[in-house]
Point group: C2
Chain length 339, copies 2
DNA sequence: TATTTCTATGACAACGTCGACAACACGTGT
DNA sequence: ACACGTGTTGTCGACGTTGTCATAGAAATA
């Protein structure tokens, strides 16, 4: 393997001078610098990060720890967001996945330490509360899409489910809908309560009574093996004599079943029922016809910002708000009309 | 940072003896071994991979290089498959994503080399042909979900689209369907042609004439910004006087629109039309009601096997079949009935 | 001119680990 | 008594890099 020494020999300088060139340090003549750079090119030299780390004990590497099943597959955009940040900032990313096992999680912490990573991004695939066990170590850590149960061990960043649901509800209300159905997410999910509360509160602010709201449970049970009532609930909602003019779905995926229920009853979307989703899970929201109006989970931003925040921590910045939130942008498509 | 030397001091032995204990080498008394292990535990010592790499020039690390947009989000299961393999085999995973830019790709190769990774897994998010440019370096590489254009530079592993489509077609034929519609994937995708050919050939084997097959284009144009004809095509198919009794969809996502088209025409699924998909993109295939019969892309297996194969390469095994294929299992649900 | 400051470079050690080899203790067979 | 093997431990150097310090000449200052 070609090392700094071979480059030094080729350029007729000391290895330290090569080091200076590589790291852009001052006190090298233009002439020497060019000779060294030529040697680097000719030999195809690439610095050895391991050796560098050993000397300087800064690995410039972040570790991503993910939990298990990606229930909402687009959440990998979090990882992409992190990578994009890392990419533009010259960091490298180590990734490991715990499969949800805490024993495995402990092993991952060890692996990360063995590689002397600078910080950890603890990422979950859906918005939830977790109990990360970092052992007795204290590596700078930012939690993404989740928050710690034992209050505020680590800083965290998550989507603003409340604001997203509020915006969607307003959107419907502003278009004249006054009887609105709501099919709830699995209550296991953190988003479920936030979204429902936002819906309730916003409807109330607009003067709707609890009776105008038909709230039904869409799913329950452990994530990945839940019982599914969405189709039945939607059918029931739409069979009422005074049926809602709009249905708000806990997420986009559940909206598929609401579409099918409505169409099976001979109803047209959006003329007879307007429908909105949540998540902007594009494989669904754009495949549905008419395309689904929804609120986009800011996955990419979560990752990007999380990485940036972590970098601040590593550099010793203080963590001011210990938990942050990224907005869910409303994506207007064609599944809603005015009444 | 606690190093091997601090452990040695604490245990009252030489650093080499500690090294022996860590690496499970022989010639250490049980008594010494235990004393060392106690010291390791007490001090929370974790070996420094960088130092180890510098000595032994084996990083025990694989790099994953992914391309851009995850058009089919479940393809991240490839990454999970790789991680699962790495996990059970004590390897670490570096990940980088090229965003489809070849300049970026070159940078990633450099980063990987800088970390002296043992091998590269070149992963694409949908089955396609690529032109990886590894520069002049020769790191062992396995391509997953894609194959090289310039024939067979690297070994590759991909899903068996042909077999999957053949099995699905047989499944329909065995249930008595004789007029079958087919809505084609974007021809840009490698799977498109393989699946269509399998459909055609299998139908022919069963004695169907070309007239019994209604083949329509569902999408075309660049991935991520394609023109979408699925709904129109499905509607047209189902309005024919002699309408097909079954429709085969290029993939699950497109099947959503076929469902909607059928229901909008007042047809019941599967009594009036049977529908099959492809991919087993579960967010869709299980959210549709009735649930969709489809062929599962073996993403996890692709990743797992790819990693294992790469490990063989790194250890100097020969690459016998230069391209492999993993089967697409038929997943039977309830969107098909016999006629 | 003498002294200081600055620029450019090199020598050398150290980071943490492991491989090569030496050393030492303890039998065992001659 | 001796050589020999075998099990156990330690010493030392090397891996590739960078930080510290030294050096030497050039330029600036007194």
């Amino acid at each position: 393997m070609v090392s700094i020494i071979s480059v030094a020999k080729a350029a007729g300088v000391s290895n330290k001078t090569v080091s200076r060139v590589i790291n852009g340090e001052p006190y090298v003549t233009d002439e020497t610098r060019e000779r060294v750079q030529k040697a680097i090119r000719d030999l195809g030299y690439i610095p050895n990060m391991a050796a560098r780390l050993i000397r300087s004990s800064r690995s410039n590497t972040f570790g991503i720890m993910t939990d298990y099943v990606s229930t909402t597959p687009y959440s990998v955009d979090i990882v992409r967001g992190i990578q994009d940040w890392a990419n533009t900032n010259g960091k490298t990313i180590l990734i490991a996945n715990t499969g949800g096992s805490s024993q495995r999680e402990a092993e991952v912490w060890k692996t990360f330490q063995a590689h002397r990573i600078d910080g950890v991004l603890y990422v979950t695939m859906y918005h939830r509360v977790v109990d990360p066990d970092a052992g007795d170590v204290s590596i700078p850590t930012v939690m993404i899409n989740c928050r710690p149960r034992t209050d505020q061990l680590f800083p965290s960043i998550a989507p603003d489910d409340f604001q997203g649901a509020r915006d969607l509800t307003r959107y419907l209300l502003e278009r004249g809908h006054r009887r609105i159905g709501y099919i709830r997410l699995n209550p296991v999910l953190v988003g479920a309560e936030l979204r429902l509360n936002a819906f309730r509160q916003t409807a109330k602010e607009f003067g709707l009574a609890e009776d105008d709201l038909s709230i039904r449970l869409g799913m329950k049970g452990p994530v990945g093996a839940e019982e599914n009532y969405v189709f039945a609930a939607a059918t029931e909602l739409l069979r009422q004599k005074e049926r809602p003019t709009a249905i708000m779905s806990g997420n986009d995926e559940m909206a598929i079943q609401i579409y099918i229920a409505a169409l099976s009853l001979g109803l047209r979307i959006p003329q007879d029922v307007s429908i909105v989703g949540f998540d902007d899970f594009r494989t669904v929201s754009m495949a549905l016809k008419p395309e689904l109006t929804t609120a986009a989970l800011p996955y990419h931003e979560l990752g990007f910002q999380g990485a940036e925040w972590l970098n601040g921590l590593v550099s010793g910045n203080n963590v001011d708000p210990l938990s942050r939130v990224a907005p869910c942008r409303l994506v207007e498509r064609t599944s809603v009309c005015s009444v």
